[in-house]
């Protein structure tokens, strides 16, 4: 397989603050790669270096074999970028915005096609200032897809979207991946990384703290079922392994719904009630606790 994105020993500081501290990874052609991390982990800085907006302080970065900073003009013809934050012209409509952006691209997709892809067909005549945060993200996506990119950078693509829009965006990403587009996305949603990515790396405080199989295993334990451990029940009797935290039994599972069902069936068979039952997807914070890391490890502040 061809390597589309190669990062080797990348470092980048902003005014004395080391946002990215020596990270390396590779993304193969047609792969979906997720960079998972909390705010301030260095994800956006990494994407901005890869997209040619910032120059690396040290290390080597190649996208389609080119240095993204010096080869920006050449790379733009084959890359699409969805920045974490970037402005629009608020008084233009969605359709006008897309039409203007089409003028910036040599061989753009038709307007109707990108609006369809981004799920904005019904919103074409709405002014950008009237769009919701999630709709703006979708317009962002539409503009990133205009040039039929071979490589797509998506910086927190679904932040601010409702669950329906998020699912629709995931479908779009999967569709593009199926067409062979190489995709690098950043996210702080475990579920998003897990559902979309072929491989992933977990970043914290500018470093990659877990990558490849290890990151996938960690992210795979995405579900969490907890309940008040009934009196006189020994955790060992339960049908699934649990940890007891403050009187609550906590069970980690790939599929928390299935785990909850197993536990409830077991309890019903014994005439027990599982009080305070909670079923949820784990968050990145849970994962950092698993990693044995300190949840307060990374500095507060923007994702720069």
């Amino acid at each position: 397989m061809t390597t589309t994105i190669a990062v080797n020993g990348l470092r980048k500081s902003h005014q004395g603050f080391e946002a990215v501290r020596d990270i390396s990874f590779e993304v193969a052609e047609g792969e979906v790669f997720a960079l998972l991390g909390r705010n301030g982990a260095g994800k956006t800085t990494t994407v901005e270096v890869l997209a040619g907006f910032q120059r690396a302080d040290a290390g080597e970065v190649r996208v389609l074999g080119l240095d993204p900073h010096t080869g920006r003009a050449a790379l733009r013809r084959s890359t699409g970028i969805m920045l974490q934050e970037a402005g629009f012209f608020p008084d233009l409509t969605v359709a006008a915005t897309v039409d203007i952006w089409r003028g910036f691209i040599a061989a753009p997709r038709p307007r109707a096609e990108v609006l369809e892809l981004a799920g904005l067909t019904g919103r074409a005549d709405v002014r950008v200032r009237q769009l919701s945060g999630g709709e703006r993200r979708r317009l962002d996506l539409a503009l990133a897809l205009l040039g039929r990119p071979r490589v797509l950078f998506l910086d927190e693509p679904t932040t601010g979207m409702d669950p329906e829009a998020r699912a629709a965006t995931w479908d779009v990403v999967r569709g593009l991946a199926a067409e062979g587009v190489t995709i690098l996305l950043t996210t702080h949603y475990l579920e998003e990384a897990q559902r979309l990515a072929d491989s992933m790396a977990i970043m914290d405080a500018g470093r990659i703290v877990a990558a490849g199989g290890m990151a996938e295993t960690l992210a795979g334990r995405a579900g969490r079922v907890s309940f008040l451990l009934p009196a006189h029940v020994d955790p060992g009797e339960l049908p699934l392994p649990v940890a007891v935290e403050d009187g609550r039994a906590v069970c980690r599972a790939d599929d928390p719904d299935l785990a909850a069902q197993t536990l409830l069936t077991w309890a019903a068979g014994r005439g027990l009630r599982l009080a305070g039952l909670e079923v949820r997807q784990a968050t990145l914070e849970d994962l950092f606790l698993d990693l044995g890391g300190d949840a307060e490890l990374s500095p507060a502040g923007g994702d720069r």
């Binding site: 920045l83 970037a86 402005g87 629009f88 503009l143 990133a144």
Partner: protein, 239 residues
């Protein structure tokens, strides 16, 4: 092709921003037509006073319609990360800036031509000799002022301050051209003020003599391009 796209975008946004149009077109046009008209009717030497005043008001149009407008527009787009979004496309940095500067210069030139026609009809201010050559100087002056306004954005810390930061430029340009009435200036300052891009355009319109203006404008253009290259910021300063 892409330069044409950024040019069209610049023109579209110029005429679409209604509140900005009031400041950057209505006000200077009002002054440029109104002042000569006033001179024509209140002064004993009406026609001569009007003919003397009109070229001076062009310094105001250049300082506002070209310089202030582009400074405000570009700092606003910089701070709202619109410039960054434009840079995420296939456009080169040069195409983005050249499109903006050339469209702003065109609008300024059209505004000046409209003012000249209006004062000709309403106040009887005759066109200068060599009208085509002078028109070329005005076009070059519009382009240089737009270029300098784009370069000036580097000095503006935040978009909200852009208009205020261009006030000194407006005042110096207006006063040195005599558009604000006869304000006595120290004689040692005169040679410097005569080298302003606005002053040389005003002078060329008055005299019909383009050579000096062409040379001085070329110098300012080089200075503007160098400043743009060295200091232009595409993104807001990170605090």
């Amino acid at each position: 092709m892409s330069l044409a796209a950024t040019y069209r975008l610049g023109a579209r946004l110029f005429w679409r921003d209604k509140p900005m149009l009031f400041a950057s077109v209505v006000t200077p046009v009002g002054l440029s037509i109104g002042m000569p008209l006033l001179m024509r009717h209140v002064r004993a030497d009406g026609p001569a006073a009007a003919a003397e005043m009109f070229p001076a008001t062009l310094a105001i149009v250049l300082a506002i319609t070209a310089f202030m407008n582009i400074t405000v527009a570009l700092t606003g787009r910089r701070d709202q990360l619109v410039l960054k979004r434009l840079r995420a496309t296939e456009l080169t940095d040069g195409q983005i800036l050249a499109g903006q500067i050339s469209s702003n210069a065109t609008q300024t030139f059209l505004v000046i031509v409209a003012c000249a026609v209006a004062v000709f009809l309403a106040a009887g201010v005759a066109p200068p000799p060599n009208v085509l050559v002078v028109a070329l100087v005005v076009a070059a002056g519009s382009a240089v002022m737009a270029l300098l306004g784009a370069a000036y954005t580097a000095a503006v810390p935040r978009a909200e301050l852009a208009a205020a930061y261009t006030m000194p430029v407006f005042l110096v340009a207006g006063v040195s051209a005599g558009a604000m009435g006869p304000i006595p200036l120290p004689s040692w300052l005169r040679p410097a003020l005569d080298l302003l891009p606005t002053s040389v355009v005003v002078d060329a319109v008055r005299t019909g003599e383009p050579l000096r203006a062409a040379l001085v404008l070329a110098g300012w253009a080089v200075a503007g391009l160098v400043a743009l290259r060295l200091w232009f910021r595409w993104e807001p300063r990170r605090s």
